[in-house]
Symmetry: none
Subunit: 162 residues, 4 copies
């Protein structure tokens, strides 16, 4: 047991050292967590104003989940859809509804939804751009009609510029 | 084309009806999104105070993601771990570290981590209880040492009582 | 059919416009594809020098696959392991073998391998740092002994500095 | 502890033996890694000439990943699509676009995209043939228009004959 304890202390010290280095790993041109919170809460406020129950996901430039909120009573199935909408918007740097227009039967990227572990190509996912037009993340909204989802996502994404 | 249009209108009306009913779908004894935000932001504030870069996930009584934030520069691998810690804590109504004590080789629930799409049984996941002691959700924290993760999760969970 | 053709042309023009915008989406502090190729080919050359049959994966700062090569006759099972080693090294900003030391039974992050769709925590994955020590990606090598894999990964990662 | 050490030495010796045998495991009529690199870099050069940001994947006769490169700033979602295009082309020994023509609603292999963990049946995947017309692998290209992807894939595949 003593060697195990010693091992744990060593491992702990190792981890601390490693942790102190992670600060340097943050990439630039990426949404910060404070910006992501602002986008999230702006979208939530808009949803409340319109009386729509939404799931809202914000991802970073790497398409990793950065912030999320699920409003009480919203569709259970919309958690995954909100996240997939955000990822889809970043994966192809366009609003999900625009991709959906070209993924229909006969479209140039028919069934693209089956890639990347499942994409969502109806409206509600929107890239987030900074003041230079650089894409720094994306927002995905699911729970209302596709028009409501898209509008609320857009209001959220634009919060970054204010 | 007319029947498609008709179908769309019907589907839209159905969706509206469903939406108006979803408010009643909220189960009692469940964390609200405002409470989840409070838990999340309290944990984030504690992480900032301690200078630890964390991923923080809050899930509801059904173990569905309710709120999430990922601090800038934290481990990429901790997004999934924070969510899995929260789920694990709610799946078995105990702190993840307590489950980890009995999942070791020779333990009574050896390799339980392989169930449910992957559990995390080291510290950092804590059930969230209301003032009656009823479990209404859980919080999972990942990015620091396991002691830091557990402490920050506990501070977050306790925010519900204030 | 005419409207479909019209639709395709519109979609095509839309895609072209979108494509012209993607150049701005590249994040800084990230490995370039020329650097990734250099890392890959340096590691391959080292493997050939040592007479080891390797799978070599290079990922970027986002942990996305950037470059890969599989040497003739190497283990089929090592394709996935090489990629997972590289991802693991970036997910936690450390050599995979260092994470493996603390994921053993009784270790502080026991069974962490079950997160993130499967991690590999034995040696062969190494972060790639630029001249400032910033982590810009990672390399994963699989096919030889764990010592060979780690050494070849290290030689590859260091190619970025030359 | 001694038996563990003994076991490790045995395992090491076994591994060495296996390694020395793997050279003979290469099947004939299979693309070599040098050929795969040639295909990859020829396709990349063509993409650069046309000013298109591509993800390029080369797989072997067994449909396993052999070589890959992801150009800076290309779509994040195209990593998986490039690999899936290459696999689809080898799974059915035809250009992906040809399969897509018969997978549309009403087509003879409608929704075949749902098999094999997800196929991509729009253009950009092309079989690689040797000078005898034997299929020895496939290439998948994603990031440009479907015409660009297909043309670049074809240029890459033809590099094997020069």
């Amino acid at each position: 047991m003593n060697s195990l304890k010693h091992f744990k202390i060593c491992a702990f010290a190792l981890l601390l050292t490693l942790l102190s280095n992670t600060v340097h790993a943050q990439i630039s041109n990426d949404i910060s967590h404070e910006e992501a919170l602002k986008v999230l809460l702006t979208a939530k406020k808009e949803a409340e104003k319109l009386g729509v129950l939404e799931n809202i996901a914000v991802i970073d430039a790497c398409a990793n989940l950065k912030a999320f909120i699920r409003m009480d009573g919203s569709f259970l199935g919309s958690i995954d859809i909100a996240i997939k909408k955000a990822k889809t918007a970043r994966y192809f740097n366009m609003a999900t509804g625009d991709l959906g227009k070209i993924s229909q039967p006969g479209g140039i990227v028919y069934n693209i939804e089956l890639s990347n572990g499942g994409l969502i190509t109806f409206p509600g996912g929107v890239p987030i751009k900074d003041e230079n037009g650089t894409i720094i993340g994306a927002i995905g909204v699911s729970g209302g009609t596709i028009e409501e989802d898209h509008d609320i996502a857009t209001v959220g994404a634009n919060a970054i510029l204010q």
